[in-house]
């Protein structure tokens, strides 16, 4: 099964938006990493990941988001995430990733932050 079918990619004002419609346990996290690395290979600089339809995220997925955010910043871009459920926020806070990746309440606020 390919979970990237549940990861919708679109673009708005030059910013790539990934809307994820599946929980991010190990299997889907691997697909998310592949999708993000594909964007890096295309020299995309600005990415927003919308997690409004995600009810679970593990450390592999958080690590993928942290890693890509750091690499994008090296080239002047960034990855921002938005619309986290409370338990996802707790996971980011527990790992400490909320101090590394910018988190916004809504997709619009994440887009406006670029």
């Amino acid at each position: 099964m390919d979970s990237t079918k549940l990861m919708k990619l679109r673009e708005e004002s030059g910013i790539k938006i990934i809307e994820i419609k599946t929980d991010l346990s190990s299997y889907a996290a691997s697909d998310l990493r592949k999708m993000l690395e594909g964007l890096l290979a295309e020299k995309v600089e600005k990415v927003v990941v919308n997690l409004s339809q995600v009810s679970h995220i593990n450390s592999t997925a958080v690590g993928a988001l942290v890693g890509v955010a750091k690499r994008l910043r090296q080239s002047g871009g960034d990855l921002k995430i938005c619309a986290l459920a409370d338990n996802l926020t707790r996971t980011f806070n527990l790992i400490g990733a909320s101090s590394v990746v910018e988190i916004y309440e809504s997709e619009n606020s994440a887009l406006a932050a670029f």
């Binding site: 346990s25 190990s26 299997y27 679970h56 593990n58 690590g63 750091k70 790992i95 400490g96």
Partner: protein, 151 residues
């Protein structure tokens, strides 16, 4: 009062973690854990199983075994791998390796958070090398109130 054990075995592949996570989530919910605690239990299970699949198995056919035990006070989950995922390393659990992971854990790192999460969110966390040379990880979650289980 009775104790119940549920035994599961999955292929050592990430794809099979998701259905187990869903099953354990439904079980924890049925046992009366709060929504927040169910999410904790599911996350810990995901992290422990991910380590077993990625670090603790020769290949997908070997499998990861789970034993889920329910009694009046606790829900306990044992995850057992067989080791030897990487050449030259049987069990991925060594005192030195664990110390290194814990010492180097940082929010900036992409990996190395799984054991920290399992320790942080469970009421008890144990790791030890098993008889087959792999790793056993046991996590325990306590009920807020003792249950009178009829199973």
């Amino acid at each position: 009062m009775a104790q119940a054990d549920i035994q599961l075995q999955i292929p050592s592949a990430a794809f099979y973690i998701e259905p187990v996570r869903a099953f354990v989530g439904n079980l924890a919910k049925s046992l009366g854990f709060s929504r927040k605690r169910v999410a904790d239990i599911q996350l810990v299970l995901d992290e422990v199983c991910s380590n077993a699949v990625h670090h603790g198995s020769v290949n997908a056919t070997v499998g990861v075994k789970l034993c889920i035990s329910i009694d009046t006070d606790t829900l306990a989950i044992l995850v057992r791998d067989t080791g030897a995922r990487h050449a030259g390393k049987k069990s991925w659990l060594t005192h030195e390796r664990l110390s290194e992971i814990e010492r180097n854990r940082s929010p900036n790192n992409e990996s190395g958070h799984g054991i920290f999460i399992a320790k942080s969110l469970s009421d008890m966390h144990e790791m030890q090398t098993n008889a087959s040379g792999g790793t056993d990880v046991r996590v325990v979650f306590r009920f807020l109130k003792p249950r009178d289980i009829e199973i």
